[in-house]
C-alpha cells in the first residue's frame, strides 16, 4: 500500500477549493474595515509621560469592590489583549465579578525614553499610579494583577512596597527564568545585551517580534495562514483573526535601560532566584511579599513555561498562596472561551474572598 495517495483530480480540486475560498475571503477582507481593539468603555484617569492609567466603567447593576484592582501589563505588546473583543475580554469578566478595574497602558516609548530605568517603572510610574488610586478611593492598599513581564514588575513592586498591596495576582509570570525548556532564556544567554542596548538605544519591537516568531516559525508564520483560509468565508472570524494579527505585530520598542537591566538581572542572572536585583537603593527580596498571592499559569505556555511561574511557590513569605493551572497557552489564557469561563471568574472570586 502506498502511503501518499494524492490523485491528480483531488489535488486539482483542492487547488480549486483554495482559490474559491480566497475569492470569497477577498470580499470579507474588503469589508473588514478598521480593526477595533479594546471593547469595554474606559476613561483615562491619570497620565504621566507616555503612561495612561485607565479606569473601566463598572457595568450597571454591579456594586464595585472598595479596593481597586490595578492591572500591570507587560512592556511587550499592547494591553488591549486583555479586552480584545466583546466575547473575549478578561477585563469584562473581572468587571462582572465586581472588581473596580484599572489598567496601565505604557504607550510607545521612543528614543527620548531610552534612559527610563526599571527603577523608574517600578518605584516611579507604578508607585504613582498606586498612590493615585489610594488617594482617589480613600484606601491604603490596592489589589495588583500583573501580566507576564508585568507580573514580574508587580512582584518587585509588592516586595518593595508591601504596605500598599492588599492582594497580588500574577498571570503567566516568569519567576525562575532559567528552567529547562525555556527557549527565550536559552537564546539570550549568549547575547551581549550591553552591546545591543548601547548600539540600538531602545530595542525595536521588530526584534522582539522576530524572537517570538522564531519560537515556532512554521506554525506562526506559515501554517496559521493556511488554516485561516478555512475561516475566510465567515466575516466575524476574519475580523477576529485580523484583530489578533494586529496585536501580535503591535510591538512597542523597549526603553533601552530598562531592557538592559531586565534581561541581565532576570534572564541572565535569574534575579528572583539568585537575588541581586537592585532598584533605586534597595534590593528586591521576594520574602518581603507577605500579602495573599494567586499565581496563574498556562500549561501549554511556550513563552513562559509553567515551571518558570510555579517557582514562585515558597519564595514569598505569604501564608496565603494559591496556584491556578490553566490548560492552554500564553495567549489563550486571555482570549480563549475556556479562559472566560474559568480564569476570570476564579480571579474575581479569589479577590472577593479576601
Amino acid at each position: 500500500m502506498f502511503p501518499i495517495d494524492i490523485r491528480p483530480d483531488k489535488l486539482a480540486q483542492e487547488m480549486f477549493d483554495y482559490s474559491r475560498k480566497l475569492g470569497q475571503g477577498m470580499e470579507n477582507l474588503l469589508n473588514a474595515e478598521a480593526i477595533d481593539t479594546g471593547v469595554s468603555p474606559k476613561q483615562a484617569v491619570y497620565s504621566e509621560d507616555k503612561l495612561t492609567l485607565y479606569r473601566y466603567d463598572t457595568p450597571d447593576g454591579i456594586e464595585p469592590q472598595p479596593v481597586p484592582l490595578l492591572i500591570v501589563y507587560a512592556l511587550v505588546n499592547r494591553p488591549y489583549m486583555t479586552d480584545i473583543q466583546e466575547d473575549r475580554s478578561t477585563i469584562k469578566g473581572l468587571l462582572a465579578t465586581g472588581q473596580d478595574v484599572y489598567l496601565i497602558d505604557w504607550g510607545y516609548p521612543d528614543q527620548a525614553d531610552r534612559a527610563i530605568t526599571l527603577d523608574d517603572y517600578i518605584n516611579g510610574y507604578i508607585d504613582r499610579c498606586v498612590d493615585h488610586l489610594c488617594e482617589a478611593h480613600g484606601v491604603d492598599q490596592v489589589n495588583l494583577l500583573g501580566i507576564c513581564q508585568g507580573g514580574a514588575f508587580s512582584l518587585m513592586y509588592t516586595a518593595l512596597h508591601p504596605e500598599k498591596v492588599r492582594n497580588l495576582v500574577t498571570m503567566v509570570t516568569p519567576v525562575d527564568f532559567q528552567t529547562p525548556g525555556n527557549l527565550l532564556s536559552a537564546w539570550v544567554q549568549n547575547v551581549d545585551i550591553d552591546l545591543a542596548v548601547d548600539t540600538m538605544g531602545n530595542i525595536p519591537g521588530e526584534l522582539l517580534n522576530w524572537t517570538f516568531l522564531s519560537l515556532k516559525p512554521f506554525s506562526l508564520t506559515g501554517q496559521k495562514y493556511i488554516n485561516m483560509v478555512d475561516l475566510l468565508d465567515d466575516p466575524d472570524k476574519v475580523k477576529n483573526f485580523l484583530r489578533m494579527e494586529k496585536w501580535i505585530f503591535d510591538s512597542p520598542d523597549q526603553a533601552g535601560e530598562t531592557f538592559r537591566q531586565f534581561i541581565k538581572d532576570f534572564y541572565q542572572r535569574n534575579g528572583f532566584i539568585n537575588g541581586g536585583v537592585v532598584l533605586g537603593e534597595r534590593e528586591v527580596n521576594l520574602k518581603d511579599v507577605t500579602c495573599p498571592v494567586l499565581n496563574i499559569f498556562a500549561l501549554q505556555d511556550h513563552l513562559v513555561p509553567p515551571d518558570a511561574s510555579k517557582a514562585l511557590k515558597g519564595l514569598t513569605s505569604s501564608t496565603d498562596y494559591t496556584e491556578l493551572a490553566f490548560p492552554g497557552g500564553h495567549i489563550g489564557i486571555y482570549v480563549s472561551g475556556k479562559a472566560q469561563k474559568e480564569v476570570t471568574p476564579a480571579i474575581g472570586k479569589w479577590l472577593n474572598e479576601r
Binding site: 502511503p3 484617569v45 466603567d57 517580534n209
Partner: protein, 354 residues
C-alpha cells in the same frame, strides 16, 4: 486504498489542462487576451494572475494578508507537487520504493546550498527559508541595507588577505579614520560569517526534517492509512519541521549561533553609528552620542524633579494635618490627572490579615 502510484503518467498533463482552462476562463472574464505566453507553472501562474487582477483594488492591510495566504497556499501545493512529480527514468517496482525515492530526492535537494537557484529545490527550500526570511525582514526594518545584503557575498577566498589588509596599522594624518573603516570592514566580515553560519544551521535542519518525515510516513504505512490530500501532507510536513526545529534550537550549539548572529549584527551597526557620528560632528551637527548624554541628564533631572514634588507635597500635607486643615493642593501623584468618572467608594480598607 490504492496500490497504484500516487500520481500517474498523465498528472502533469491533467494539471496543465485543468489550469489552462481555469486561467483561460479567468482571463476572458477579465477581458484579457488568452493568447499570451503559456505559463510554465500552470497552477502558480493561475494564482498569480488572479491576484494581479484583483489586488489593485485591495486595501494595503488586506493585500499584505492575502499575499501571505497566497504564498503559503503555494507552499502547500508545491509540496504536493514535489511528491507528485515522478522521475520516469527510474524503474518503480512498488510504492515503498517510490516514496523512498521521493524522500531521497528531497534529502539530496536539502543537502545542497540554500541559495541554489534550482526551481525544484526552491519548492522545498522555500519552507525552510521561513526563519531566514523572518530574520531578513526584521533586519531590513532596522537598517538602511537590505536584510540579505551580505548573505550571499563570498568571503572565504578573500578572508586571509582581507584580514591582513585590515590588520595593517593606519598611517599619517587620517590614521584614526583609516582605523574606523578597518573596524567597519572587520565587523561586516564577522557579521557575514555569523549569518552564513546561521544559514548553514537551517540547511542541516532541512535534511533532518526529511528524515523525520520518512519516519512519519513509515508510521502511516504501518498503520495501513494513507495521506490523500495536499493539505494533510503539508500539515504533517509542518509538524515534522517544527519538531526537528524545536529540538535543534534548544541545543547549546544553536544558542551560540543565535548569540553570535545578534552580536555580530549589533557590532556592525555600532561601527556604522560611530562613522555617522563622526560625519555629523564634522558638519557641526548634534551626534547620537551627544543626544544620548542629554537624554541621560534629562532623565536624571526629571527623576529628581518628580521625587522632589512628591516630597514637597508630603510635607505640605503633614503641615496641613498639624494645622488641622484639609490639604488644598492636588495629590502628589497628580502630575497630570483627571477625576474618575464614577464616584469611588470612599472607604478605607483594613490592614491585610498577614
Amino acid at each position: 486504498m490504492s496500490n497504484t502510484p500516487f500520481f500517474n503518467d498523465n498528472w502533469l498533463e491533467l494539471q496543465r489542462q485543468y489550469w489552462d482552462t481555469w486561467t483561460d476562463m479567468s482571463r476572458k472574464a477579465m477581458g484579457l487576451d488568452s493568447a499570451a505566453s503559456a505559463p510554465t507553472q500552470p497552477w502558480e501562474a493561475a494564482i498569480d494572475q488572479w491576484w494581479k487582477a484583483v489586488s489593485p483594488a485591495t486595501p494595503d492591510l488586506s493585500r499584505t494578508f492575502m499575499d501571505k495566504l497566497l504564498e503559503q497556499g503555494k507552499n502547500v501545493f508545491r509540496l504536493a507537487d514535489t511528491f507528485a512529480q515522478r522521475d520516469d527514468s527510474a524503474p518503480v517496482t512498488n510504492g515503498f520504493e517510490l516514496w523512498t525515492q521521493a524522500l531521497e530526492t528531497m534529502q539530496q535537494r536539502f543537502s545542497g546550498s540554500l541559495d541554489d537557484n534550482s526551481t525544484t529545490m526552491q519548492r522545498l527550500m522555500s519552507f525552510w527559508e521561513l526563519p531566514l526570511d523572518n530574520w531578513q525582514r526584521m533586519m531590513s526594518s532596522m537598517s538602511p541595507l537590505p536584510g540579505d545584503a551580505l548573505r550571499n557575498m563570498p568571503h572565504a577566498p578573500f578572508k586571509d588577505s582581507l584580514d591582513r589588509a585590515l590588520s595593517a596599522p593606519g598611517l599619517g594624518y587620517t590614521r584614526e579614520e583609516q582605523t574606523q573603516y578597518q573596524e567597519l570592514l572587520r565587523s561586516a566580515m564577522n557579521y557575514q560569517t555569523a549569518l552564513q553560519e546561521y544559514t548553514q544551521f537551517y540547511s542541516t535542519l532541512g535534511t533532518k526534517s526529511v528524515e523525520r518525515m520518512g519516519s512519519y510516513i513509515q508510521n502511516v504505512i504501518d498503520s495501513g492509512k494513507t495521506i490523500d490530500s495536499a493539505r494533510a501532507l503539508y500539515d504533517n510536513w509542518v509538524t515534522c519541521c517544527e519538531g526537528v526545529y524545536a529540538e535543534e534550537v534548544a541545543t547549546p550549539e544553536y544558542a551560540q549561533i543565535h548569540g553570535r548572529l545578534i552580536n555580530a549584527q549589533m557590532a556592525l551597526k555600532k561601527r556604522l553609528s560611530i562613522l555617522v557620528d563622526e560625519n555629523l560632528g564634522a558638519l557641526n551637527m548634534p551626534t547620537r552620542s551627544e543626544v544620548r548624554t542629554l537624554q541621560d541628564r534629562l532623565q536624571e533631572t526629571r527623576r529628581d524633579n518628580k521625587a522632589l514634588r512628591q516630597s514637597l507635597n508630603s510635607l505640605e500635607r503633614r503641615v496641613a494635618a498639624l494645622a488641622g486643615e484639609e490639604p488644598t493642593r492636588t495629590p502628589p501623584t497628580a502630575l497630570r490627572t483627571t477625576t474618575p468618572v464614577k464616584a469611588p467608594a470612599r472607604r478605607r480598607t483594613t490592614k491585610p490579615d498577614a
